[in-house]
Amino acid sequence: MSKVFKHLIFIDDDPAVNFFHKVLLDKSKISEKCTFFQKAEDALSYFKDLYEEDREKLPEIIFLDINMPKIDGWMFLDKYKEIINGYEPSNIIMLSTSTNPIDIEKANSYKLVKSFIHKPVSVDLFQNLQNTYIS
C-alpha cells in the first residue's frame, strides 16, 4: 500500500464543500490528518503559530479556495508568503469553480502554487496527488 500524507489543509468558506471533501478523504484514507478552515484569517493565524512553534508539522498540501469573503485566496497567498518567509514546506493547490483564464494565469504567477484544480475534486484526484507528491 502506498504511503499516505501526514497532514492536508483545506481552506474554503463553503461548509458544504468542506464537508464533501471530508467525506471523500474519509473514504480514500490518503492522509493521517486533515484540517478544514472556513475563514482564511483563521488559517493564517494557525500557520503563523505552527511556523513559529514546529515547522515540521506544516502540511504537505494546502487546498485553497479563491473566492472567499474578507480574505480571498489571493490575499491569503500574499499574507502566507510573508509568514513562511521563503521556507516552503507545503505545496499549494488552488481550488476554484471558476474557469476564468485570468485566475489560472494569476495562479501560475505564484511560485508557491503548484496547480489549479476545478471543483469538485474526486477520490481519483486525491489518489493522483498521492502518487505525485509522496514518492
Binding site: 468558506d13 461548509p15 458544504a16 464537508f19 464533501f20
Partner: protein
C-alpha cells in the same frame, strides 16, 4: 441675384432688416418703421423705442435671421463708408478673425443688445481681389475690434471698393442662403513687385538687403511680409485642422460602431440573464420539492451522515434559488426604465416599516425617522432601495448593543441627501466600494445570510435616478449609508 442694400447708418440697416422680414413685423410696425424711411439722421431714443416695440410685439419669434441680416448690412456699411461706426457713437462694431482665417465673427454691440453673426470664408482670391463669406449664423461674442480678411487688416492693407450681399430669390431667405461678396484691391504700395519676389527670402533671412526709399515704405513692407507669413501659417493650420477633423471623424465613427455592437451584446446578455434565470427556477424548485418529500416520508430511514447530506442539498438548493431570484430581480431592475411620480419618502419609509414589522420586533431595533422630503422618483424602485438598506441595517447588527437605526435627510443645492445610520458591525475601509458590486459578500453565509446582490441593486436604482450612493463606516461602531436623489 445681386441684392445691394444701401443705407446711411447701422440704424437704417436694422430698420431695413425689420422691414424686409415681413413675417416678423405686422402692419403696425410697418407704419412705425416707415417714419425712418428718409435715410437721414435719426433721433436715437425714437429709434430705440421703435426697435423695442417691434421686439416686444414679436416676443417668442426667432430673430436670428433678422439680427444676422442687420449685421450683414452693417458690415456693408462699414466697408462702404469706411467708418460708419462713428455715426452711432453708442454702438461698437467688431469683427473677430478666427486663428485659421477661415471664419469671422462680426457684429455690433450696443448699450442694451448685441447683433452678431458668424461667417465662414468660402473663397479668398487675393489676385482677383474677391472674397466670399457665407454660412452666416448668429453667434454670441466677446468684444474685439478690427476688420480682417484672409489674415489682412482691411482698413490698413486694402482698398476695398465693393461689398454686396447675394442670396437666393426666396422672399424670406434662410441663413445659409446668404453670400457676402467682398470685392477688394490691395493698397497701392510702391515697389509691390519687388516685395512679392523678396518676401520669402526676407522671412528666411532678415539680413537680405532691400532698397527702400523711406521708413514708411519699410514699415509697410515688413507689415506685409508679416501678414503674408501669417497667411501661410494660417493655411498650414487649416490643413492641420482638416487632418485632425477627418481623423477625429473616423475615430468617432469607429467608436460609434463598437459602441453599437457593445450595446447589442449587452442587450443580448441581459436577455440571456433574464431568460436563463426563468428557466433555472423550475428545476431548482423541483429539487427542493423532492427533498421536502424525502424528508417527510423517509426521515427515520436515514443515518446521521445521510441526514447531513440532505441538509446540505437542501441548504444549497435554497441558496441557488435565492441567487436565481436575486439575479432575476437585478436583471429586471437594470432593464426597466424608471417611471417618475411624486413620492412622500416619509410615508414610504413608514409603509416599509409596517410591512417588515415582524423582523423589526424580533431584532428589537429602535428605528427613528426624521423629516423626509417629497421627491420625484420611481416609487417601486425607491421602495426596493429603502427596504434593502433598512433590512441591511437590521441584518448586520452588533450583538452587543441594542440596534438603533436613524433615517434622515438634508436638502442640498441640487438634490436631497438621505442617510441611514446604524450602530451595527461596520465595514472596514477597504471594502467600502466593493460591497456595491454584484455577488460581493464580506461575511460567511452562516453568520449573515444573503447572496450579495442587494447593494448592487441599490446602486443601480440610485444611479438610474441620477444620484450617488456611498457608505461611511467604523468597524464595531456602525455604518451610515448615504445616497442622493434629485429634487
Amino acid at each position: 441675384m445681386k441684392d445691394i442694400q444701401i443705407s446711411g447708418s447701422f440704424i437704417n440697416g436694422i430698420l431695413n432688416a425689420f422691414k424686409s422680414i415681413h413675417a416678423l413685423t405686422g402692419e403696425q410696425e410697418h407704419e412705425l418703421l416707415n417714419k425712418f424711411d428718409d435715410g437721414g439722421w435719426y433721433d436715437y431714443n425714437l429709434f430705440n423705442n421703435t426697435v423695442q416695440k417691434v421686439l416686444e410685439n414679436n416676443k417668442g419669434q426667432d430673430f436670428s435671421a433678422l439680427l444676422v441680416r442687420a449685421g450683414m448690412i452693417y458690415i456693408y456699411n462699414i466697408f462702404h463708408y469706411g467708418g460708419a461706426q462713428h455715426i452711432m457713437s453708442s454702438y461698437e462694431a467688431f469683427i473677430n478673425l478666427q486663428a485659421d482665417s477661415s471664419a469671422y465673427e462680426f457684429g455690433v454691440k450696443g448699450p442694451s443688445r448685441e447683433v452678431s453673426g458668424w461667417v465662414e470664408l468660402k473663397e479668398f482670391d487675393k489676385k482677383q481681389g474677391r472674397a466670399i463669406v457665407r454660412n452666416v449664423v448668429p453667434f454670441p461674442s466677446d468684444f474685439a475690434q478690427g476688420v480682417y480678411l484672409g489674415g489682412m487688416n482691411l482698413n490698413n492693407d486694402l482698398d476695398y471698393y465693393e461689398v454686396f450681399v447675394e442670396h437666393n430669390e426666396s422672399q424670406y431667405p434662410n441663413l445659409n442662403d446668404f453670400d457676402i461678396v467682398i470685392l477688394f484691391k490691395e493698397k497701392n504700395i510702391e515697389g509691390n513687385n519687388i516685395i512679392d519676389e523678396n518676401v520669402n527670402g526676407i522671412i528666411k533671412n532678415k539680413s537680405t538687403k532691400v532698397e527702400l526709399n523711406n521708413i514708411d515704405k519699410e514699415t509697410l513692407f515688413w507689415k506685409y511680409a508679416q501678414l503674408k507669413s501669417q497667411l501661410n501659417q494660417n493655411q498650414i493650420y487649416q490643413q492641420q485642422l482638416d487632418d485632425i477633423l477627418s481623423r477625429k471623424t473616423n475615430e468617432l465613427f469607429k467608436q460609434g460602431q463598437s459602441l453599437k455592437s457593445y450595446i447589442e451584446t449587452n442587450v443580448e446578455l441581459e436577455n440571456f440573464l433574464f431568460l436563463s434565470s426563468h428557466d433555472l427556477r423550475t428545476p431548482i424548485q423541483n429539487i427542493i420539492n423532492f427533498i421536502h418529500l424525502l424528508n417527510e416520508e423517509s426521515f427515520d430511514k436515514f443515518n446521521p451522515q445521510e441526514i447531513k447530506y440532505l441538509e446540505y442539498i437542501n441548504n444549497n438548493s435554497q441558496r441557488l434559488e435565492d441567487t436565481i431570484n436575486g439575479l432575476l430581480n437585478y436583471s429586471i431592475i437594470k432593464n426597466k426604465n424608471i417611471v417618475l411620480s411624486s413620492i412622500n419618502t416619509y410615508d414610504l419609509f413608514n409603509e416599509i416599516i409596517q410591512e417588515n414589522k415582524d423582523i423589526i420586533i424580533s431584532s428589537n431595533a429602535n428605528i427613528q425617522i426624521k423629516k423626509l422630503p417629497n421627491i420625484k422618483g420611481d416609487v417601486n424602485q425607491l421602495k426596493t432601495l429603502f427596504e434593502n438598506l433598512l433590512l441591511n441595517a437590521l441584518k448586520f447588527v452588533n450583538k452587543e448593543v441594542e440596534p438603533v437605526i436613524l433615517i434622515d435627510s438634508e436638502e442640498q443645492e441640487n438634490h436631497f441627501l438621505f442617510k441611514i445610520v446604524d450602530n451595527g458591525i461596520g465595514i472596514d475601509n477597504n471594502s467600502k466600494e466593493i460591497i456595491f458590486g454584484i455577488f460581493k459578500r464580506l461575511n460567511l453565509r452562516e453568520e449573515y445570510e444573503g447572496i450579495g446582490i442587494g447593494l448592487s441593486i441599490c446602486k443601480n436604482i440610485v444611479e438610474k435616478h441620477k444620484g450617488t450612493i456611498w457608505v461611511e463606516s467604523d468597524i464595531g461602531i456602525g455604518s451610515t449609508f448615504y445616497f442622493t436623489l434629485p429634487k
